[in-house]
Amino acid sequence: MSQVNAVSLTEKEYLLPGNRLCPGCALSLAYRHILKALDGRAIITVPASCLTVLHGMYPVTSVTVPCVNTPFASVAASAAGLVAGLKAVGRTDLTVVAVAGDGGTHDIGIQALSGAAERHDDFIYICYDNEGYMNTGNQRSGSSPLGAISGTTPILGKRQHQKDIVAIMEAHAVPYVATANASYPLDLYQKVRKAMSMVGLRFIHVYSPCPPGWGFPFSATIRIGELAVQTGWNVLYEVENGVFQLTAGSESVARKGNPTHVREFLTAQGRFSNVTEETVQELQDWVTAKWQRYLERARSS
């Protein structure tokens, strides 16, 4: 598959200008490229999430793809239903795509997602992860990191590490899992294209910084996403039929061998303003250990 670049990227837009997301939201950038990659050959299903906000308010919408909004717990089942229904009526030309946030994926939606993965249902599941319940105003989720202040961890910050949803999905032996990051849209585009060419449940995790929830300026979104990759906080990789490889920014960090200290990522955001030195160290150790594991996997595959 030839690599797409800024020149060869399709000019066609499926996400219209003007939507209700917050300024600087990484999701709008990520979703724009996801839709470009799908190239109008998809049916989308979305649970309660910031993406519902992006899709807009009846009777207008800012997207030009068919979409069904579904209750919070049921997006993977909704996708399974779309796949089954399309098969039943003899339509084989469309890709079904479920797009949900970390709350709808790591927490309330995990049962339906796990069921669909176990059944090898044939759709792409994309989780955009802003590490909290941002649509309801920033409460902690299963993906919120240790130390992060949120509406439900207001003073001490979250006391637990985040759930590794990608590892959980990989453990379901799905044909494709990948991580992506809104600051690396061409890598995301490429991964969606690759997923489209495969059969079964394909899972893509998209790291999506949230300016109001994380407490950084609207203009800093791309930089925050890059810092996450450069520090090893967010690692970009894909596992295709069991074969692991680092991609994009993470591949360069591995090649250069110089991850930035996690402190740079933490201090750029308000949500970590209360973390102690001990927690910074704990987070650095957590990131280092995780990074080493990925490096070893990259070397051995």
Partner: protein, 410 residues
Amino acid sequence: MTETNTAGREPPDQMLDGNRAAAIGAKLCRVQVVAAYPITPQTPVTEALSEFVERRELPAQYITVESEHSALAVCSSASLVGARTFTATSSHGLAYMHEMLHWVAGTRLPVVLACVNRAIGAPWNVLNDQQDSISQRDTGWIQMYARNNQEILDSMIQAYKIAEKTYLPVMVCYDGYILSHTEMPVEVPSQDAVDRYLPPYRPHTVLDPGNPKNYNLVTLANPRANAEGVLCHGYMEIRYLLQEALQKSRETISAAGQEFGELFGRSYAKLLWEHRMQDAEIAIVTMGSLALEAVVAADALRKQGAKAGVLGLRVFRPFPGRDIAEALRRCRLVVVFDKNVSYGNEGATCNEIKAALYGSGASAAVSNFIVGLGGRDVKARDLADAVKGALSSLERGALSNECAQWICEI
């Protein structure tokens, strides 16, 4: 209503339990997507359908979901791309579907669900009452209750006809074990006959990139203009249309039942059924399989000189209030037996019958008995005794109109 078709071309009766009758009904309707999660006493329905699919007798997509919530989400989305869909559940499964029940009705999808009525915990109980479906009465689904296994099969076939004409989901309810696990003779119509009655599902809109639409967007309470400046419904208008569709569905249900009668010889032209109501002074009102005991009880009361009849509800939503008031107009006593309770009030059926009588000119006293919860056996004699008790209270002027009486040991 269940007399045999005299055309003579239909296959002979089969001995079927209620679950088999429901599954065969779904198969005859050529359902295209089935999603179901096992729960007692519904399980044989999902087993039978998976068997039909694996034997290639039914060319459907069968999704073995991980929960009832997902079962209805699968049906909902499959319906949105144009497939005829079916699921079945009971009790806690139906309760777990509650959120999706609202969504399916709100999206106006013609999904059909078989609800095998079972008690709801706590405490655990797998036997019959109707608390499960009664607890879902306000979700916007048409609710039909079958008296016997023939009615289960016949209602399934009518349900798709009604659902696809009204764009309302239909729940076919039948009593767990009493019907679900009890075999009785059922006339199974031929596939050709069902095909003549039920054309393929033609959705009004399907999700398609050629004409992209966004279903169930966030919707404000007030009407709002679209991109062309055309004023579109607000949330409240959309909810009003759901209510209006339920109200108007009475005519569709009657028409579907009548047409069914013309083709199959078993007519269901009314939302109610009556037994010896023409001259009845005392009416026993029930829903579901309790009808069989109620008929025996009414006949026994007649022998003892009381002019008793039975009024059964075949359809609970939309509520046939006007027909009920008309049927009960000449009665002096109405005794309602409920296999459910609207806690803090009374049996749901009784509650609604009282409301239907208000302002109708009917002057009957209404007495309510809660019976048969969690599979407690209800005998015709219990019903007749309760009616006699209510009658003697009425004659003494001591009939309590406020509290339902429970036929139990406390």
